[in-house]
Symmetry: C2
C-alpha cells in the first residue's frame, strides 16, 4: 500500500498547528512506519491570515469546514475545531456521509453525540478515532480498547483535567486560595473559553463518559455522570486533607455495579502516598483495572501542542496502517443503554460544615447523621470566628444517598452558614 | 467478517493456561469486540496428562508443536513455550512458512532471532506480535509502536524484571541480604529455570533490546546491550543509597546518541521520590519519551497468569480485528544496523570499594580517579573490620569508559579486597 493517506485538517489552533508540523517535519519517519506517505491535502480555520509559524501554502484552503470534509482529495477528516455542536458536528457528519474516516480531539462532541456519530460511521463503513480527546498524550483509548481487549474491565479511574489538578496542587504548594489560582491559570492560558468546562468538571466528565462507554460496552451517557467541580474547595479543605494524609484531586471513576453503571467526576480525597495523590500540575493519570490484568497506571501530559498532536497522529497512523476499529471498541449497534447508578459504591466521606454558633448545633448534626445510618470516624471543631465554627467530620463507609439525606436534614436545621462540602475518600 | 479466528496454542504453562481460560470464559465478549469469534483449534505441550484446571477436551492435541503450527485449521500460532531456540523457534518458523500469523511471549527468541523471523514473516505476508514479551500486562509495545507513532522517540527506560525488583525492594524493606531473598524468590517460584536470566539482567536485557528496535528503527541487537545483574548488590549498597536519597533498581535505558545506540541494563541509583524509585515488588514500569509527547509512564504487573495472558490476548484481538503491523513497527527490510555506543551518556556514579588496610591506599585510589578525569562529589570511609575498610565514593558526571579505566588501574594497585561495585546514578 503506497497510496498516500491524505488529511483534511479543520481547526488550526495549537493542536492543528502541531499536527501540521509533525506531518511536515516527519514525512520520512511517518512513511516508513505507515508503509505509505501521510500528506495534507487541505486545511480550514476561522482566520486565514493569522501567522501560525508553519507553512500552509502547499495546502488548499477551505473557509468552510463542511466543504473541506467533502473534498474528493481528502481521505481522513481531522476535526480539531472543538465544540459539541455547530461546525464541528456538521463537518464530521458531512465527512462520514462523504465516506471519509474521522480523527477528532473533540470530547464534547463525542460525549453528546458519540452514539449517533458511531452508528453513522459504521453504516458508512468509516471509522471515528479520538485518542486526543482523552488525557492528552497518553494513549489511553488504545490501551483500553486494544491493549486490554481480553479483559472484563472492572474500573476506570483518573485525573483527566490538567487545569484542575494545576489549581489544586498549586493551592497545596503555595497556600494561595482558589480564586487567586483560578486567575493564575487563566493568565497562563490554561482555561477553556468557558472556564466552567474545566473547573466545573464538565471537560473531565466528557472524557470519563467516553472511557466508560468503551470499558463497559455502554452507549456513551454523559448526562448520567455525577458531576461536581472544584469551585467550592477551600484552602482549609486542602490543609485538613493534608493533615489526615490525603490530597484532593478532581477524580473520575467509572465502574459497573450490581445496580448499574456508576460514573462520577468529583473532587475526592486520595492518599498522599498513592500515585494519584502524588500527581502534580497539569499531568494526567488514568488507572485501568481488568479482571485479568489487575491494574495498569498510565501517566503523561494532559494537554499542550506536542502531546495532543502526538495523540492525533496515533489515530492517523492507525488509519494509514489499515487498523479499523469501531468507535467504542465494538459495533455501535451492540452498545447497550446501561442503567445508571450514580453513587452505588459506598465510601468514607469528608464533610466540612460551617456551624452557626447556636447551642446544641453540633449535637443536632450528629443526630441527623446517625439517623441516616452514618457513623462518624473522626470529628474536629476548629476555633470560632465571630459567628461560625468550622466542623470537620470523617465518616465511616456510607453511600452518597445516605449522605444526601442527612445533609438535606442538616440544611433544614438552620444551623449552617453556607453549603456543606462533602468529598468522597477514595482509597484507590 | 464473521469467520472465527482459530488459535493453535503451543505451551500450556501458566500463561498458556491463562489464555485458554480467557478464550473459554469470555467467548461472547471477545466475539463482540473482535466482530468475529475467537476459538482454539488445537493445543500442544510437553505433558498431556497434567491437570491444568481447564477443559482441553474440545481441542485437538498435538504432541509436536511444529505439527501444531502447520495445521490447516490454525490461523494464529500462539507460541508460549519459551526458549530462544529449539522447539519454539522451529515451530515459529514452521508457522510462518505455513502462512500463519504468530503471537508469542518469547523475548529470548525475538531478542536473538527477531530480525530473521521478522523478515521471514513479512516475506510471507504474516505478522509476529509479542506484547506479552515485554513488561507483562502493560501494553507497552502497543503504546510505543502505535500510540507514539507520530514521535521521534528520544529515550526508553524501565524496570522490566519483577523478580529483581522484588529482591531489591525486599532487601530494602526487610534488611535481609541478597542470598536470603534470592532463596525466598526461588521458593515463591519467581525465578526462571536458569535464575541468571533474571538476576543476571538477561531477561530484562532481552526486553530492552526489543523496545529499542521499535523505538529507533534498528535491527534488534541484544548482543550490544551493556548488561549487568544484581548479584553483587549488597545490603550495604541498598542502605548507603537510601542514606543519600536513592533506591537501587535494575534499570534499562535505551537512547540514540551522537555516537550510536546506547542500550544498558544495569543496577542504577534512582531518586527515592521518583516514580521509578517508588516501584515496589514485582511491578514493572516503562518510561517512554518522545519529541512530541514528552514523557509517558506506564506501570503494571510484570508477570503472572492473568496479566501475561491479557497481553497475549491483546495481540490475538488485534489480529482478529484485522490490524496487521510489521513486527518492529516498520518493515524489517527498513530496520538499520545501528552503531553501538554502550555507555555514551555521562552520569555520576556510586562506587563501593573494599580497601585493604594498607597505608596510602585511599590516596592512591583518589589519584587514579583524578588521572582518569573523574572528580569526586562525596566520599565516606566506614569503620574497619580486621582487614578491610569499605569506602563509598560518589563521583561527579563521568563516563563508563573513564570509570573502567580508573577501576582497571585501581585493580592493579593490589589494595582492594573483592571487586569494586560501580552503579550509575540516573536522575530520570
Amino acid at each position: 500500500m503506497t497510496t498516500p493517506l491524505r488529511l483534511g485538517i479543520a481547526g488550526l489552533g495549537t493542536v492543528g498547528t502541531g499536527v501540521v508540523r509533525i506531518v511536515r517535519q516527519k514525512a520520512d519517519l511517518l512513511a516508513i512506519r505507515a508503509g505509505r506517505p501521510v500528506t495534507i491535502a487541505a486545511v480550514s480555520a476561522r482566520n486565514r491570515d493569522r501567522d501560525r509559524g508553519v507553512n500552509l501554502s502547499d495546502y488548499v484552503w477551505e473557509d468552510d469546514p463542511v466543504a473541506l470534509a467533502r473534498r474528493a482529495d481528502v481521505d481522513v477528516f481531522v476535526e480539531l475545531m472543538g465544540g459539541s455542536d455547530g461546525p464541528a458536528k456538521a463537518a464530521t457528519e458531512a465527512a462520514i456521509a462523504a465516506g471519509k474516516d474521522v480523527v477528532t480531539a473533540n470530547k464534547a462532541m463525542l460525549a453528546h453525540h458519540g452514539q449517533a456519530l458511531a452508528l453513522a460511521a459504521e453504516a458508512a463503513g468509516r471509522v471515528i478515532r479520538f485518542e486526543a480527546a482523552v488525557a492528552g498524550g497518553i494513549p489511553v483509548i488504545k490501551a483500553l480498547t486494544e491493549g486490554l481487549a481480553g479483559n472484563e474491565i472492572t474500573r476506570v479511574m483518573g485525573v483527566m483535567n490538567g487545569t484542575c489538578n494545576y489549581i489544586l496542587t498549586r493551592m497545596q504548594a503555595t497556600g494561595q486560595g482558589y480564586n487567586a489560582l483560578f486567575e493564575e491559570a487563566d493568565k497562563l492560558g490554561y482555561l477553556e473559553a468557558d472556564p466552567n468546562l474545566d473547573v466545573g468538571g464538565i471537560d473531565a466528565g466528557h472524557k470519563l463518559a467516553l472511557l466508560a462507554a468503551i470499558a463497559f460496552g455502554c452507549q456513551v451517557d454523559f448526562a448520567s455522570v455525577a458531576l461536581e467541580g472544584i469551585q467550592n474547595i477551600t484552602l482549609e479543605d486542602i490543609r485538613h486533607a493534608a493533615d489526615m494524609g490525603y490530597r484532593i484531586k478532581l477524580l473520575g471513576v467509572a465502574q459497573m455495579t450490581g445496580r448499574g453503571l456508576e460514573q462520577r467526576m468529583s473532587p475526592c480525597l486520595v492518599p498522599d502516598t498513592s500515585a494519584l495523590g502524588q500527581l502534580e500540575g497539569g499531568t494526567n493519570m488514568v488507572v485501568l483495572e481488568g479482571d485479568q490484568v489487575e491494574q495498569i497506571v498510565l501517566r503523561g501530559p494532559g494537554a499542550g501542542m506536542g502531546p495532543t498532536a502526538s495523540a492525533v497522529m496515533a489515530d492517523v497512523m492507525d488509519i494509514a496502517r489499515g487498523a479499523r476499529l469501531p468507535t467504542f471498541g465494538q459495533p455501535a449497534t451492540s452498545l447497550r443503554r446501561c442503567q445508571t447508578a450514580s453513587s452505588a459504591t459506598p465510601a468514607p466521606y469528608y464533610l466540612r460544615l460551617s456551624l452557626l454558633d447556636k447551642p446544641g448545633a453540633l449535637a443536632k448534626v450528629a443526630t441527623l447523621l446517625g439517623e441516616a445510618g452514618i457513623s462518624i470516624d473522626r470529628m474536629r471543631q476548629y476555633r470560632h470566628d465571630a459567628v461560625t465554627a468550622p466542623v470537620l467530620i470523617v465518616t465511616h463507609m456510607t453511600t452518597r444517598d445516605a449522605l444526601d439525606t442527612a445533609l438535606g436534614g442538616i440544611g433544614r436545621l438552620d444551623v449552617l452558614s453556607g453549603k456543606p462540602v462533602a468529598l468522597r475518600i477514595e482509597t484507590v
